[in-house]
Symmetry: D2
Subunit: 305 residues, 4 copies
């Protein structure tokens, strides 16, 4: 299959029906770069404004509304030696009373050792001087153009993906997006060196990346919300506020998945999910929160054929 190199010359702060930057086809692989959430590239040069400037959009030939776009994240390689994070934790992840006591927001820098695959705090407070975080890269913001001619800021997310900030969207994962417009119009960016659940400081370790990904078009396969698959799990994603509603969306999408692909009606799916489901909180910081409803594949392998 073709493997394209695409070097972005412009970036976007919305996911919408914009002019395609590059056209690819079902099965193609792309190697490209992403800049960080503030617009800095691998050379430390500011290339675009925040929030989360996107590489793309990629027009995927043959993708049409009602299809699903599968995007496998093949590789994410940091392409500079520094990243940054915010602090303290966001006021919406502590009690309202505790929020009144939070210190002023700052940003701190992390040294990235690309050969060792670790990050360490520059000017670390004494207690954190020995802290080394391993590379567990992920795409904070990626997705396709939404329906109806809408365009959404890369600060938020919806049924089309976007700023989900979910740590399982990293190398080895295949993400699935509903296609709402011809060509799907795929965008990506906002790479994180690593990130905890919830993105509770408002950032992962933000840096720039070389990213390799492969697309497939699942003709006639219709889904409603983003999904994903790793070696161990399948998961469905809901993006909304509050967390309860994101969880409701994710669970409903998982029930649809188990029905269509695994033959489980609501009762059978409930017997299974009730005892094996896992919920992950992608982000609890952005305008839309993200919850994943996840099922380890080992339970699906146990289903009678």
């Amino acid at each position: 299959m073709p493997r394209h190199l695409f070097e972005p010359s412009g970036f976007h702060n919305v996911l919408g029906s914009l002019e395609p930057a590059f056209t690819i086809a079902d099965g193609d692989t792309v190697v490209t770069t992403t800049i960080d959430a503030w617009g800095f590239d691998g050379a430390g040069v500011k290339r675009a404004e925040q929030p989360n400037p996107m590489t793309g959009p990629f027009f995927v030939s043959g993708a049409a509304p009602g299809d699903t776009l599968a995007v496998t994240i093949d590789r994410m390689t940091p392409n500079r030696d520094e990243g940054w994070t915010g602090a303290p934790v966001a006021p919406n992840v502590v009690t309202p009373m505790a929020a009144t006591e939070l210190p002023k927001r700052i940003h701190v820098r992390w040294k990235i050792e690309r050969n060792r695959g670790v990050a360490t705090l520059i000017d670390a407070p004494p207690a954190l001087k020995r802290l080394e975080l391993p590379l567990e890269p992920m795409l904070g913001c990626f997705g396709v153009a939404p329906e109806l001619g809408q365009a959404f800021s890369t600060a938020t997310s919806s049924a089309n993906g976007g700023n989900m900030d979910y740590r399982r969207f990293g190398p080895g994962t295949t993400a699935y997006f509903p296609v709402f417009v011809p060509g799907a119009l795929f965008f990506l960016g906002d790479g994180h060196f690593c990130q905890g659940d919830g993105e509770i400081v408002g950032t992962g370790i933000e840096t720039s990346f070389e990213v390799e990904f492969t697309v497939r078009v699942l003709k006639g396969k219709t889904i409603s919300w983003p999904r994903g698959e790793t070696a161990e799990d399948i998961f469905a994603v809901g993006n909304a506020r509050p967390l309860d509603e994101a969880l409701q969306i994710a669970t409903t999408e998982m029930l649809a998945w188990l029905a269509s692909d695994y033959g489980l009606d609501t009762m059978a799916a409930s017997h299974l999910l009730g005892q094996v489901v896992r919920y992950d909180i992608g982000n609890v910081f952005d305008p839309a929160y993200t919850v994943a409803c996840r099922v380890p594949k080992r339970w699906l392998a146990a289903l009678a054929g």
Copy 2:
């Protein structure tokens, strides 16, 4: 240390300042039994009414308001050959529109093979005939009497614990509860053979158990919400609605813990939590939802002393 056998003769549907059933001391171990959420014991005899009848309360000598009660769950052994679960998923874990399409609630039975440590559905739908779930027992409801002379139904949970339905409250875990009344008044029950995140069908596999636990009184150690510790993790628990608020409580309690025991101020704790924190959803079914803010101990071991 003393190891007591306590065979309960009565059960309670509230956690409150009730007459102690048994008095124990700091360091004591108790072997006792719990009945299931509907009140059935190991012989299949109905001994009490729902919801979640509790064994206890245990008066812990020396425990006083402002202390912390540590309860190590040493062992949970199912003491009968059947359990049960509900279905379908609760209407509050799917979208409101999907809720209108849910089938009527039923209960189904599971065969428990105690020697093999597995459960299988009795009268399973065809797709689930091969499904075997391993024993991962947990206490759905346990805790201490609340403050102010209050008494709370065992259907719900609060700062004193209660019906948290969090799967990490199983053997090997030490739970910590704030002590609000003299003697703490510890209750336990509602054992689950296993349970997924969120208790989204309203039950784990509900059955009766022989339970062994050990208490310690941490004099002068004051906490605000339940906490826990396993071999791998520490976690703080928030019980509230919606999930956002449970998460806020849990995060705030974890920040307090990191400050008092690990010397991390809010900024340092934020640098760490932002990139390593894990959130678990205990339950998203009961009147109060439960979220745990969890930190793997390996990161705490990396803190400079």
Copy 3:
């Protein structure tokens, strides 16, 4: 009907199955006094601890589980010349980011002119020197003992009433409570000289009162949540978090009311409510928020008989 004078000698910080302070019967009127949220009486003497110490409980002869207790608030007369409020607005009624900028909480005093029925700020900031607020008294916290032997702090509210802080619970209103225990066990207190929607500073103008109320027992009439009736409106009350859930409870209870008493099935009730319903936010400060679903009686009078 009998009219009793009851001078309280003790007060309670929970609504629960406590020893009755006084026994009354269906149709009786009681004249009593309430102390303020911090426990100060009409003479400025501290009589009890916060939160919201209650007068009562009143055992209502003949009231049994499954009945409804109707309490008409006949009169509320402030019995001292000062009240107090808190400020600023609570951190949970502004955005989390705005919460981080709030000034520290203070309490301020209001002069009550009982003859004129107005309150004015003592040591008012210049802009508020001319502000006069008229007497619109209400009971912040009142209700009956909850089910199952539970006992709830007077800081919060539930199906049994409690700290609803809803400004339409004032003179002229008849409140309806589900009866959960023999005798109902009615408590009252936490009077406010006046209060805005939401009790967003955490207080109304808090003061002590002479209160006159009349009880009726509606035998065999079963309701699920508190209700109320004024000259113009009927309303059903939900107490929960978040506001969405309080609104859901209130709407569901109103649908039940319209079905049982007005013969409207869900479709007919929807046609009416959709175009005429009013929602009031009682409080958005306490552990449980309060929303009222209100229907002006003029629309009910228009129903075909």
Copy 4:
């Protein structure tokens, strides 16, 4: 000032940076028509697709980012003899358990008597045969283009206005919108003959209108969220989920208003709001809910100058 007649020839399902349909200036009045939420005009002809097709956008000369656009709704005249509503109440306004019992959604028709200004149900259920609802018209969806080149479906609302479905946005009200793009780009539509709080059946009485409005540009006046003013009140509007967050936004915007225009710092504003504020629930149906924080002008008139 000029008074323009504008007959729309096309309609839009998003609020975004679209090609202007008509250009007007500060102080101009426009008489135009709006079609109903499903796209039917005054002649009963379907002119556009749902959701909520908009008339406009109007480019307002001189309006620039950072300004405020004031839109006075001068008049709304229904221009046909029928409207429609949905039923039953939405599943998200009853408890999740009650949602599972709701009947299937239907739509019903209302006869509009324009001379008498009343609406009556066609094929009314017996109990509602005498129900006459008076004309209290409002614009369900109106606003300006959002920032960043975004475009939002007319099903939802945000800082730029949109589908707020708030009944106080009717004749006599001046609405204020933050200007995000040159010319503001004002859209309007989705007129309701009347509507209850919350739009809980998902509709008001939906029909088409002749609408007259007047615009003003407040140069250099910057606001963050929609606001409004009637003869009796000022109000600030928050659009978000859940209701709690919409209320937080509205309250924060009102505090900003009281500071900038009335000289009240947070403490003084809190003393006032705490005892006089009113909250209205615009809608609790759309993707973003709407809450208004409202202050009767009589209290503002009492402020010392």
